[in-house]
Amino acid sequence: MTAILRGYALRLLPQLIALAVILLMVSLVFPGFFRLEIQNGRLYGSLIDILNRGAPVVLLAIGMTVVIATKGIDLSVGAVAASSITSGHSLAMTLVITLGTGLLCGLWNGVLVAILDIQPIIATLVLMVAGRGIAQLVTEGAILTFNDPGLIFLGSGSFAWLPLPVIIWLVFGILVALIVRKTALGMLIEAIGVNRQASTLSGVLTPVLLIAAYMLSGLCAAIAGIIAAADIKGADANNAGLWLELDAILAVVIGGTSLLGGRFSIAASVLGAIIIQSINTGILLSGFPPEFNLIIKAAIIVFILVLQSPPVRNAFTFVALLRAGRKPTEGQAR
């Protein structure tokens, strides 16, 4: 058990270090960064802000991780998030319709990829374009506002001193991670991502699992959409979820899951999303002119990716081997 825990820690180490460095840097330029206080039965502070603001990307990244692990990609999540939130019924009805829309979008993507064998990047591009178009049709281009207290509570309520969006992604993330790792799903998904043909020949139900992965991604997008809409108390088909798919993909990559499919870690992707949000919030807090935001973000991300790149990793391993006195060669003698 401790060995498994140590394995997790080792896996998440680069992301944790990156996050810590970024948080420290921000706290240097913005002294009150780590301060937390309780008001009205809820925690307030920059750190909580990061967790709260990051909710949509975290949720998208959870679904995206599974899709990318199958060697796919889902470009449509931002549009799905936008189109999911454009219904105006009772709270329960809205939630059901929204989540259903998300699942349906995922099913569509999954069928294109798994049954029709269309390349994921093209297959999901269809919905990326069409999804937002449909949302704009429904809203007729205007921002639909609402004042259903239940829905607003989802965006700005709190529970156990934490904002509700944070609770939602925490619970959902843990749930997905548990399902994937406590069943055989995780291994089968990784097998499909590494070698789809070999997996199919071994009897893995490849099409069903692929469709399920895209449906999960659609579901995540729908939840992200609800949170985004509840946050601004309105459904903005033009801007909701705009470019979020790219942030989600980036979060997965920072989390160390290869775009070539295979090994994945949901926890690492969640950390990746939090890293992205920390950069966003950090840049805002530190008072840099907003024009610099994207450039600074890009620079930090390039740095993280370089650290993770195979040549650099190999160099680290090499140094480690030299220090260990080349022990591994003895182990392989058998």
Partner: protein, 506 residues
Amino acid sequence: MQPNGENLLSATRIDKVFPGARALDKVDFHLRRGEVHALLGENGAGKSTLVKCLTGAYRRDGGTILLDGVEVDPRDTFNAQKLGIGTVYQEVNLLPNLSVAENLFLGRQPRRFGLVDVGAMNRQARALLDDYELDLDVTRALDSYSVAIQQVVAIARAVDLSGKVLILDEPTASLDAHEVEMLFRIVRRLKARGLGIVFITHFLEQVYEISDRITVLRNGQLVGTRETATLERRDLISMMIGRELAAEIRSAREGQVVAGPVRYRFENYGRKGHIAPFDLDIRAGEVVGIAGLLGSGRTETAEILFGAHRADSGMAEVDGRAVQLSSPRRAIAHRFGFCPEDRKTAGIVGDLSVRENIVLALQARRGWTRPLSRTEQNRIADHYIRALDIRTADREKPIRLLSGGNQQKAILARWLATEPEFLILDEPTRGIDVGAHAEIVRLIEGLREKGMSLMVISSEIEELVAYSTRIVVLRDRQHVAALEGNRITADQIIEAIASANERGAA
């Protein structure tokens, strides 16, 4: 070895190490002027690695190469060509859409005023090909000619470019008898011109027909170099496979009759464009060997039986009951197993661990909701790692880091873990070292003895003879003959393939 004046090319103590495998271990290779030197060995013996080290396609890790007594260090194939070492591969590596002349002079076209002088190029091309008894329209695209002609064009280009050493890597693999003859005439003529020719092939008849000396590699090591004229065929084969496995197993089985009930029956089973409809019965405790040349429909037969491709005619029965084998999953539900030919693309799941690869098929059959616990997985993996002697540092090592033979054993383990009753093995011994080779052959024999039904596809006839209780011969995507009992000999199989060929030509 002492330096030898007549040696054109001398490679001494060549080492090449890949992650997880020593591909060449201090191999010596000496090529004389004006000889055809056959380089032989089983798949994975290190032939192509040696050639690639000589031509600079790989950087060697140790050893020296002397060409004309001068030490050379080819950096890449281009450099090797300039030094005088030219190579022609099995798949012609020219540009099929360009003309013959353009292919011959690619990158060195005769120019006039900075433009390609097409007239001069075509004239020179015709002159060059005259030496090869070829009268071609050199302005036509290369792919309008047969593979054999393309092969000769490739040779002409290589000789014209390099002119000292010519390496032919399985040049005859896709040629018919006449074409091979034509190729050999050209090889003899080049030999007379003083070229040193390295000839790699799997066809032993051709080795005896054309070569002066033979060098055999096994498992990355030099077994020896012999004069062809004084080397008995038997001795050559035992140099190559190390021991006379075939005789060993067959004699152990002498007089033993296979008398299990028919378990699998396929009638008029086929798929258009893949394999013509065939009838096949497979009994318990039987190994059906599938023989035939490359492209004769061997793999297609296996894939259709396993449901990797759907049959569009005929019916399948398991134990007398009609079944639909429309997907691998269905076939697996009937306790089928299938080790595909292309281990890398269809067999191993490279980034996953040995453990995960071994439990994959079993887990897939149980479904995702019933995961094997980690303890169970470890137990299964450890069991097969021990039982099949899979050489790996530990079970968590990614399978792509294992050698070919150990990957093959892990995939066998993947199926054995599902306790199959009908196991289809497509080229189970391709590209693996000779030790693992023998182990897999013994394993097949052991599984048969336990009553399993097996179908094994192999291009190595000796091997088929060793373990098959029946042999089905394929040609042109048709099942054309079946051999049983004491008719299972290498000669009979070769004859069946050959006579089928004649019939097809008529």
